[in-house]
Each structure stands twice: as C-alpha cells, then as structure tokens.
Symmetry: D3
Subunit: 302 residues, 6 copies
C-alpha cells in the first residue's frame, strides 16, 4: 500500500484520508498506543492493493496520509481539543472524503465524533462499535479517558444511546453498572456469544439494517481489544474467549459496503506489546484495508 | 474478582473455596506449574464479577481463598499425602462448599479425588476430564507423576474407568497402549475430532447425561494442555490442532450448570512459559470463573 | 517418532524417506528456513506414532531420514541443481517410497518437482498447493526464488497450469498481475474465504476429484505461510485472517488418503522466529505426520 | 525484605518510608514507569536484609511502605500537585525519617524536591543526580515532563544550579543547548568517560566533599537510564556505553554513608520492558537497598 | 567440540568424561536445570577446540560423553543415591580421568563429592566454589535441596568447612545465619566486592595457594548464579551486581592449571530461561572448556 | 542525527556518505544482516549530534545517505560485483568524502576494499579490523562468504597480510589452521585477553602507530561479533567473554582521530535477533557516530 498512499497536497481531491491520533496518555492503564499510527504506517509495505478473497483492487482509490494531530506533552484537554478541531478542519478541506483515524486510545473517539458531528450538523450520526467493553464509565472520577468515550458522546448530546450498536462485549470485563447504563440508554449490543450463535454475517446485516433506519451516517469505531488475546496480543485489554480476526475482518468488509458508513477509527493497539511478527499491527492495517475494500466494492456497483 | 474473594475466616459459611496446590516437581518434564496458584491469584484483578455473555453476576457468591497446601521441598510422597488430607479437612470444615483446586501438575488430581471420595464415602464419583492425554501411565516406572492420575484412581479402586469421561484427547500424544488400557477399562472419551464434528454443546449434553445416570457426584479436572498451542502457550504439552478456548469455556459453563458437578481442579499451567500478556493464566482464571457462572446460574434457577 | 525414524541403510526397503533441503538464501526476504530440517528432526521426540483422532498407528511404516541435500554457501544455482539430482537419485534407489522433502524456502519445489517428473517420465504430475500466495513471479527479475516455483514449473513445461490446485490464497498478498497470470494459465485456486464458506472437507473432495481426473500423480506442497499468524508465527509471510491449523491438518490427512498422492514438501518455516513453545515447528512436523496417517489409512484399506 | 517492610501505622516512628509515585503519563515518550512502584514491591521478596559485601544488616531499620500518591487519570497538573503535598505531609508526620520515592518518570522529582524544600525551609538543598541526561529542557514547549525537572527546580528558585551534581551524562543524548544552559547555571557534572578515567569512588568522594561544603541536605535522584542498556534494558532511554550496575551500586552505598544525604528517588524504570528475569526491577530495588546500607553503616558508626 | 567429544567405549582410556546429571526437581524454586546437560551438548558445535587467548588446543584430549545419570521421576532420594554411585562407578572404570558433571541443580554436588571422596578415600578433598550463595541451609526443613550441598558435605563429615573456598558471595542473598554458620565452621570466602578490589587473578592465586597447603585434591563447583544477571539471565538466582563472565572464565582457566584440581561440576543453569542467543548455555560450555584449557596447559608444561 | 543526515543531491560536496550494503545471503549461517542498513537508519532519531563525553558536535558535518547498493535476489557474485562498483563510483563522484558502508555480512568487506583500492591506486591500504574471528577461511570450499574477506583480500593481492591489524580475536572460535595462516602471512592481531591486560587505549596507540608507518590509508572494519553476547545479542556469532561496548566505542573514537583513517564498514549485525530495546542496533549506530566524532575532533585541531 506504499504504492497506494500518497503525501497530501493542498487542494487535492481525496477518497480517503488517514489521520494519525497519537494520544494514549489518557489511557487508564499505561499504554503506548500513541506509537500505533507510525506502526501502521510502517506495515503498509507488507500489503498489496489487490484483495483476492473479494477480487477488489484498491489501486485507484485516492488515499493520502494526512499526518498526525499535534499533541501536547502534558495537557490532555488540549490534546482532545486538537483532535476535534483536526477532524473538523480535515472534513472542511475534503468534504467528500472518508476519514480514517488511527489511534491512540479510545478516548479519541469522543472528540473525533464531536468534530464529525459538527461538520455534518443536521445529520443524525450512529456508531457501529466493535469492542469488548461498553466504554460507558462516568467522566467525574478520572475525566475523559479510554473508558468513557461512549458516555461522553451520550452525555454531551452528540449521539443518542439508541444510535449505538456495540458488537462484541464479552466475558467479565464490564461492570454490571455499565450494562445497566447501556440498557437505560437503549444502547444496542450483541454479546460475543450471540455473535457466535447467529454468525457474524447475520449480525452485521441486522445491525446495519437497524442503523440504516435510524441514522444518516455511520461512524465505525474498532477497539482492537474485541479480539481474542491469541489474535491480538498487543491489545492490552484483549482476553481469551474474544473475537477471531477472521470474524472481525469479514464484519468490516460488510460494514464498508454500507453506503451510510462514513468514517472509521481504530484504537487501543499498543505496538510495544506485539510479538516480533507484529500480528496485531498487521491486523490493525488489515481492518482499515477491509473497510476500504467494502467501500471500493460499493463504488464499483454504482 | 478481588472484589469477590475474601480471606477465609474460621467458621465462615462458604459457597466456593480456592485451594492452591503448588506441586510440580512430580511432573515428568520440568514444570513451574507450582507457580500457577499465585499467578491465578494475581490475575483476578483483571476480571470483574459480572459476565455479560451469560448475564450472571458472581458478586454475592461467598468465595474464599483457602491458601496453599503445605509442600515439602524434596519429599514428593509427603506432598501427595498433604494434598489428600487438605481436601478431606477443607471439606469437613465446609461440607457444603464447592472446592476449586489450582495446581500444580496433574499428579495432584489423584490425591484430591481420593480425599474427595473419603469425604463423600458411599457416593459414586465420576470424573469429567478435559485433557489432550489419557493420563493412564503405569505407576511402576516413575511413581505417581502427572502422567498417571487416572490410572492411580482406577488401580486404587477410587474411581471406575467407566465413570471417567475424557473430552479432548487428540493427535499423536497418547501411546496406543494407553488407548488400549482405556478401552479395556471402559474409560469414555471424545477425541477432539469428534468434538469438532458434533459440536461441543452436543458433546457436553451427551457426556453429562451419561454421567448423571452413572454417578452421584462429578469431579471436573481441566488439564490446560487440552487447548491448542495458539491459545495456551504456557501449557508445556499443548500442541497445534488442540481445542479452542471458546470451546473449552463454553463447555465449562455447561458443566457448572449440572447439579451433580461438585468439584473442580485445573492443572499443568506453567506461568513461566506464558508470553507477556499472560494469555494462558487469564484462560486458567476464566475456566474457574465460567464453572462458577454455571453454578450461579443453576442457583438462580432454584 | 524417534521410535519411528531409523537411519537409512543402503538397499533397505522404505515406505517413506525424509530429505532435508536446507536452502533459504534464495528467499526474497532474509529467512532461516534452512534451519528447519534440523528443527523438525529435533521435535519428533514430542510426537508418538499413534494418532487417536484417526485411530491410525504409524509404528510399522518403514521411514528413514535420508539426511540433507548438500548445499553450497554462495552458489545458489548449484544448490538448485543438487536438489533436483537428489530427488532423482533418491527415487532411483527407492522407487516405491514416498518422498517427503523438508525445506528450506519455496524455491526448492521447482527442482524437487523437476526431479520427481524426470523419475516419473511419461506420467502427468499435478500439484496440490497450500499457500497464501500463487508463487507465480517472473524469473527474469531475481532468478528462481521463493516467489517463483509455480511459474518456473509452468514455464519449463514441467507442469501445466491447469494441473495446479492452490488452496488458501487470501488477503492482499498477491499482486493482481499474478492472479491474471493464474487465470490465463488456468491455475485452479480456492481463496480462503471460499474454503471457509464451503468447508475444508468439501474443498478437498472437490480438488482431489478434479486432480484424479487430470493427472497420474499428485505432488503436495505446503507453504506454511498459508496459516494465520496466530497459528504460524514462524512463517515470515503468514498474516492475520489465514487458515487455522485444524483446517490444514484435516486437509492433509485427506490428501494422504488419496492414492495418487505421491510426494510432499513443506517450506518457508523459519524456526528462528518461533516463540519458545515452538508452535510452528510442531505444526510442520504434524503436517508431515498427518499425510503419513492418510497414507497408512489407505494402506490399511487395501 | 518482606521481613523488613511493615505496613504503616499512624504515629509510628520510622527510619525510612517508601512512597510510590505512579505517574508516567507525563513522560515524553510512552512509558509504563507508573507500574514500577508495584514492580519494586513485588521483587523485595527475592532480597534478604543482610548484605555480605558490606557486612551490614538492615533488619532493625524501621521501614514502612506508605502506599502510593493518589493520581488523576487525565489531569497531570493535579498529579504533580498531589506529589508535592504528599512529600510535605509525609515529612510533617514523620520528621525524622528518610523518604524514598519510587517513580514514575523523572517529572516527579520537581514536585518532590519542592515539597522537601518546603518542609526544610531555611535549609539549602543540593541534588546528587545519576542520569544520562541533564533534564534541563524548557517548560514552555510541553509543560513539566520527564525532560524538565532540573530546569523546573532552578527556574522556580527551589534549587541553585551550582548545588546540582550530575554523575553520568554521556553519549549523544543531550542537545548542546542543554549543556550550555548547564554551564551558564553552574550545574556540575561528571561525564561517564570522566567517571571511568577517575573511578567511581574518587568521583563520589569529590562530589560529596563539594556538596558538603555547599548545602545542608542532599537529595539523591537516580534516573535508571544512566545505566548501560545491557544492565538496564527496561530504562527506555538507556543506551550502549552507559554506566555498569556495579558502579552505580557502589556509588549509592557511598552516598548513603554521607550524613547530609536526606532523601532518595528512583525514576524512569518501565517494568513492562524488562525481560523475564526482571534485571532492571531488581536493580531498582538494589539501588534503594544500597542507599539504606550506607545509612545503616553510618548509624552504626555513631 | 563435536570434533572433540566421542562416544564412550568400554575400556577406553579417557582424559575427561562428561556426565549429565539431569536433576532439578530438588530445587527450592521451580527449575528446568535438568534440561541443561542436553542444552550444553547441543551448543558444543559452536565451539572449536583451539583457544586463541591461551594458544591452547584441546584437540588431542580424549574426552567422552558418558551420558546421563539415570533419574527417577518422583523419588528424589533415589536420584541422589544414583548420582553418588555414578560418580563412584565412573571413577572406578576410569581412575585417571577428570570428571565433569553437568547439572542439574546444586543439590547434586553433595552426592557427587561423596562419591568422589569414596573413590579417593584417604585423601583430603577441598572445594573451590563459585557461587552467589553459601548453600549452607539446614537439611531438616526441606531435605537435601539446592540450598544445602555445602551443609550436607560438612555435616556428613565428607568435607571440613575450612577446606571450602567460596568465591563470589554478594548482595542480599545470604541470610545472616548462614554467614554465621560459615564463620563458625571456618568456611573461607571472598565477597564479590573483595574480588573486585583485589582482582580475580590475585584472589585465585591466594585461594589456590591456601588449598594446596590444606588438601590433596580440589573439587571445583560452579553455580552459574555467581554471574551478574546481564551475563547469566538463565541462572534463576543471578542478580545485578554479580560477577562478569570475563572474570569467571579467567578464574576457571587458572583453576584448571592447578595440578590438584581433580573434578568439576556446573549447576543451576536453567536453559528454558535463556534468551534466543543462548548466552548462559554458551557460558556454561565455555566454563567447562576453560577448565580443560587450564588442564591442557598444565599437561603441556610437564 | 535525523537533523544531521540529508538526502544526497548530485554534485553536492560531502564530508561523509553512508552506503547501505544489504547483502547477507552470502553468510555461512542464515542471517538477516541485510536488514541492518534500514535498522540503523531508523535508529538515528534517538541520537543527537552533540557528544558530551568528547565535547564534539557533528552538526556541521555534511553527511548524506547514499541509499543502498542494488542487490540481486539469487546471484551472489553479481551482488559482490555491484558492491565493488558502488564504492568506486561513490568515490569518483565524491573524492574527498569519508565512506561509511553499512552491511550486510562480512563478505562485503572484500569488494568494498577492492573498490577502495581501485580508487586509491598507487596508495598502500591497511586494515584495522575489530573482530572475534580472523575471517581467513579458504575460498575454494564455499566461495566468498562472511568467513573469507581477509583471505580474499590477501589472495587477490589487494592487501598484504602484514598491513592488517585485528583487535579482538578470542575464545574457541578460530580454528588453529587460520591462526597458522595469519602467522604465516604476518597478519597482526591482539587477542582480547591482551587487550584486557594492556588496556584498549594502549593497544589502539600501538596499532595506529604501526599502521601509520606501514600504510597510506587505513580502512576500518567492525564485525559487531567482537562484542560480548551481553552487549551484542544480535550478532549471531557473539559469545560470552567478548569485548565490552565501552571498549569498542572508545577504540573507534581514537581510530577516527587518526588522519590516515579513510573508510569504515560495520557488518554482521542481524537486527532480527535484537531484543526489544534494540541494544545492538543502537551500538551499531554509536560505532559510526564515534568514528565521526574522532574525525570531527581531528578537523577541529587543524
């Protein structure tokens, strides 16, 4: 994909823009997910542009690397502010493009979606979340961290709980209080056990059908910790009994095909924890590529 | 689950007791499975009490850590003796509780079941074993090691071969002689290929139906090496082509739901071999939690 | 299998011969797959001869380790020449045996099949390939490397494109140009997504039925990079979203049962990249054992 | 030293108190040094109280673990405030004790010394720093990070540049601008090459003699990155050509013997980067123990 | 040294015999030092026979691998018995040879020296020990483990305390009680700090001069944990601040030159903990080679 | 040094040029030293330009990265040809510059020096080698590999044996035959034991004094395996008992100060074997920087 991704020149028309969001000092537990944008960048070279499973070639998508959002060393609120403004500015410069934000920890999704909503004011935004967790912690105790983005979006009125579909919560990693909050705010979710029983394709069709009826635009957020620890060792919160990468990759190809799908982020991938063969970083890049394959497939149909 | 597990106070009523059995100098190949009780203890903190897949909360189970069985540095028979006595004593103090023994290597299952049988004298005990191996080596050549527990239980008259159901033997890791011994003593087993063809849920229902007809109480023993090496790198004898953790975890939730299920041990997990993200230790803790979830579910029904 | 594999004595009748092919300086990216023959040899001791999934015992197969093909330190063409001659000579000495070649990188398959075809002149050879890639790069740019063996066999007239069935290409790892070459030369392939949708058993039956009608003898080549990176971390080109080892192992048992299956190689396994528990090396040995199980099963039927 | 360190009871007389300072989100590059206080705590058990090199026993020192300074998840200035207050409060409760602060990243030294100075108002404080770096970055660009503590202390008027002695700057890891700032503010330093040429004992005697003439109390700060990367792999900024642990350990024993030595911190040790045998964490604990040995030796002389 | 070490044929005259002693289930903490004899055997191939530092060639030493002492899986006393008998028998078959015993944990030194003493009855044996520890724990609490060999030899009357010279105790890893026992029994020792101040050559000359006056034969025992953890990561008890391998290697060359040096063992090297480049296993082999170089040098002088 | 190294523009005046030589398929044992040029390039960013030990700033040296010599995938002789031509061409374009070649394995030194000699025809070239080995294997058996460069230079008449000074051969890693060849051809060498006894500074002064009298220009070649395995784990042939990085780094600073020093290469560093903190890659970059510091110091004197 080094054949694929160009430097960004002002005024250039883009199909897709990649924005690095290297913030992870807002993570509850120590994380080097801030190194992930560069890790993803350095792994593109092991990917080509043609996918043989889907018979789709990304070679003529106009993709550019927009660089990183500028971060401050010790002022986390300023970092979150910069992220929101970067999303607004990038969209105002390239109204037609598909923004891909590469985190960073999950706290970035809150300002990213706020910026996305500001640009698309008047439109209803829904969120398709792949995550082992609800990310519905309160903001009083520790401020906006990687445990709070969905709560932050709901409480700021940016997103309604019923416009969130979370695929993948599982195991013992969500306190009962958050499940209760999710239910009270009508957040939709498919536990991983449900996904296994119904099949990921069935779940995706159902989720997208639902969102299509509810919202104008779908923002996809992938917390890589949704994956089983065997497939994503570099997601600090991944556990046994999680999603297989083949399930996630198929889901994202389907998500990309949905015309209302309009933005993507990927978060909580800490490349410092990856083993030598960089399986998690490769999966992170693959996630992005598969959404783009879905988009390309959709473009070819029209 | 640090919210969950209290210190044990004498006279206290318990639902579940966790007993560390830090013996692995009886392992045929060198093993640090003796470090596993403490490894499991230190990983609880990454688990909550509420399971979203099963919608079950363990928060009001009365669980206590009973500490470790005292071991001798160089006298292995004395260690096995202590283990049997510890099981008897713990049960006599807490007759109603569910004992969870955290090994150590598989040699501990022989004295643990002997102690369990002594306490429940007059009742028929069956064994539900998850294992890549039969563990039916003879005791003459090397004494009671991690290769011999089922043989030791059969030859001591503690358990009948036909009251054992082993789920998971696979590959090239059982000599033909042991398969023959298993057949001669009517030991029941499902090879992993059978499990895959029939589905783990089907196999579990069949196995539990059978045991329910045969025995009064079911002792569950989980040798973590039943798992594929991708899911359990810290099981010295795990191999490619093994069970997936999602299969094992579902099986144990089902096992916990069975009213005759009355004890659990987990063995042959050597935390010194785990990669940094501790996937196998997490799986070991998850195994215990899922059995307890099944029990809690069963308690809620009644 | 140390019980199984003897030293080779001249004049001895063999069922199976294992030939080390320690060449990987012909790999496009740096590889220590040349260390794999010895890695496989040292792992046999953790395998027995009896497989409980298939109820087949390899103990009375006459298997010998034929040692390594002699390699030159800096003259790669001479190495490829030696490999072809070694195959011819081994077959001329043991006409009835089943040759198993342990690479080394995939460049070795070209001279191995050439030697195999020279021995079996007049017979039509087909190839059953398990691979993430087509291996159809042109030979002009870099000579005969691990990216070119299928192209080398087609362009030398050794094998026809339509007599190749490749199971497992997937993802972004084949340039569109090679897919086009494959189609133009009627190379057959099942993408991994097709395998998942149809099931590996169905695919194997279809592939073997096709080859049986087309060719006299089937040469099986396994590039270990067909596996998912979670299952084969030591395959430099393995990626997320690849084949599971349980699928590959079942496929090879089925392949061994086919009477026209007449040779096997396994390539691109770099043991220097394996984690401590040697999951990939164990899988490499398992691959060989399972083909032999299939053969033994077939022998028992007749 | 688990024999050694007790829980802290209010009103208890202490010789030494250990304070965890788990802050590293203020680190310029991502760091899990916030995990270090607990890592050090868990390694004590591999140390006894008697040192055979110095023939000193720490068994009757009254040492207590004071727990951790409370940190906020996303408000770094509040964290630094809490650290300064914790030092003040701990000293006001235990005026006679020797405070040992376990970081965390080097940003903590600025509030720690400020608190130490507030308690000892009227006294002149000097700093004995072991560090590969000057830590004299300006505070304008990124706020108070692990690159700024000495600058922060000088610019706030807490410490005079001439009362700092830095032992160990080396290599290419200090911009010329910082060396110039150091010279302009009369910061004293011994490059590692000087240390090697003169010997660590000679340097220590000279440095302590100088400080004794200049200041009332000496605060010792050890940035573990002063060590060679072979000895401190878990110091993110350690490099080849650094100090050997034997040199550092001897230096700290000597520092402890100095009566004006009145406080210690150790920083920038990221246990997540340590290899399995935890060499850096062990060195961190050893550093603390050796200062205490020096203190104990001094107490025995009087 | 694969050029060097032959298989042992009955009746053959030997200069040196290598005996594997694969026992480590007697280790206080879990250890795979039982894998060390095979690890050392497999690393010889990376050593030649000629040492350029000493200009000594071992090529014409008659060295044989005597195989392993037979161990029992669960009966540790029987293992210790077998070790003592193996030493006696090997010496009775090859009275003139130099026995090199490759452990295993340090418990093996007690039966090895007992066997050595039985063969050399009437002669006074001294011990030159390289060790971070005294190994003087009492035998009552846990039986003969890797913490007790020197105590076992003294209390059984095999060796007098004053005939032991221990080079290398350091740090916080010997309880004061053992130092007191050492002093009461006149065990000689050089702390590592003394070694550093006097130089390893000076210490060796002094130690050998002393032993030469006291004893007829010197048995050298090397506990690899004497080394710094940077040089011996695979010694479970190695720590920072330990001996450098260059010091140990020089010491052993000097020890080999001493005519009374008559036996060697090397213990407590757990190859499962070595990093990929096997630094500790290589050091273990180097230790043996250097003693042999000293012997060869001595033979060349006479 | 990312501040330091610019892209190379044709016609630009250079002080130093860095040339990647990514060839390691000529290595006797499998090596990924071909990945080292890029590894070194990616580590510059952790180095500044100012060295505080020497008080030298490299900021105004004109250094450019000349890119990589073009290599062929399977034709090793063509690779060696390209290397020689690249050296000739680079020198003809930049006659005044100091060429730094980043290998690759040690086979590259032979064509590099041949090219260097062709450019400087009429001048006598000497070699200052830092190496655990002589690299004097014959060329008949395996062609020009990493074991042969010095032999290749002597036998081709490019260099006289007496104009080679090798600092660092040690241990059991040179066959006696090569030592004999070295002596017969008057190759000079200092064993590591001699270096330790005399001190590296003394040895360097002696070696440079000797070379200054014998030759016009000195080519420095650093085989990173000269270092102890604790300091250079990623040098496949590094061993215990090797050189410390502090010794090597000081030596190279001194070498750079010598006015006849006119070229440098660094070889046999396989970054795939480095642990996470990249100690060996950092040392490789440091080696280059220190030679440049010596050169800069020399320039400042004149």
């Amino acid at each position: 994909m080094n054949q694929l991704i160009g430097e960004h020149t002002a005024g250039q028309q883009l199909d897709v823009g990649l924005l690095g969001v290297p913030l992870s000092r807002s993570s509850i537990t120590a994380s080097a997910a801030s190194d992930n944008p560069n890790a993803i960048r350095s792994i593109w070279k092991s990917f080509g542009t043609y996918n043989i499973d889907y018979d789709v070639d990304l070679a003529d998508l106009r993709i550019a690397d927009l660089g990183d959002v500028k971060m401050h060393v010790t002022d986390i609120p300023r970092c979150h502010h910069n992220i929101e403004e970067a999303m607004v500015e990038a969209l105002s410069r390239n109204p037609a493009y598909f923004p891909v934000s590469i985190g960073g920890d999950h706290s970035i999704t809150c300002p990213l979606v706020k910026g996305f909503q500001r640009h698309h004011s008047g439109k209803t935004i829904g969120i398709l979340q792949f995550d082992a967790h609800f990310d519905l912690r309160n903001l009083q105790d520790g401020g906006p961290s990687n445990g709070t983005p969905m709560r932050g979006l709901i409480e700021s009125g940016t997103i309604e709980g019923r416009h969130i579909v979370n695929i993948g919560p599982h195991g013992y990693f969500n306190a009962y209080a958050y499940k209760k909050y999710a239910d009270e705010h009508s957040v939709n979710y498919y536990t991983l056990r449900q996904v296994r029983k119904q099949g990921i394709e069935h779940v995706m069709v159902e989720a997208l059908t639902y969102l299509r009826e509810q919202v104008d635009l779908i923002y996809v957020t992938v917390d890589i910790d949704v994956l089983d620890a065997a497939f994503a060792p570099a997601a600090p919160a991944s556990t046994p009994g999680g999603m297989w990468s083949s399930e996630l990759l198929e889901a994202l190809y389907i998500a990309g095909q949905e015309p209302r799908t309009a933005a993507l982020d990927i978060v909580c991938l800490d490349p410092a924890r990856d083993p030598r063969h960089l399986i998690t970083v490769k999966t992170g890049a693959y996630v992005i590529m598969n959404v783009l394959c879905g988009i390309k497939y959709r473009m070819q149909q029209t």
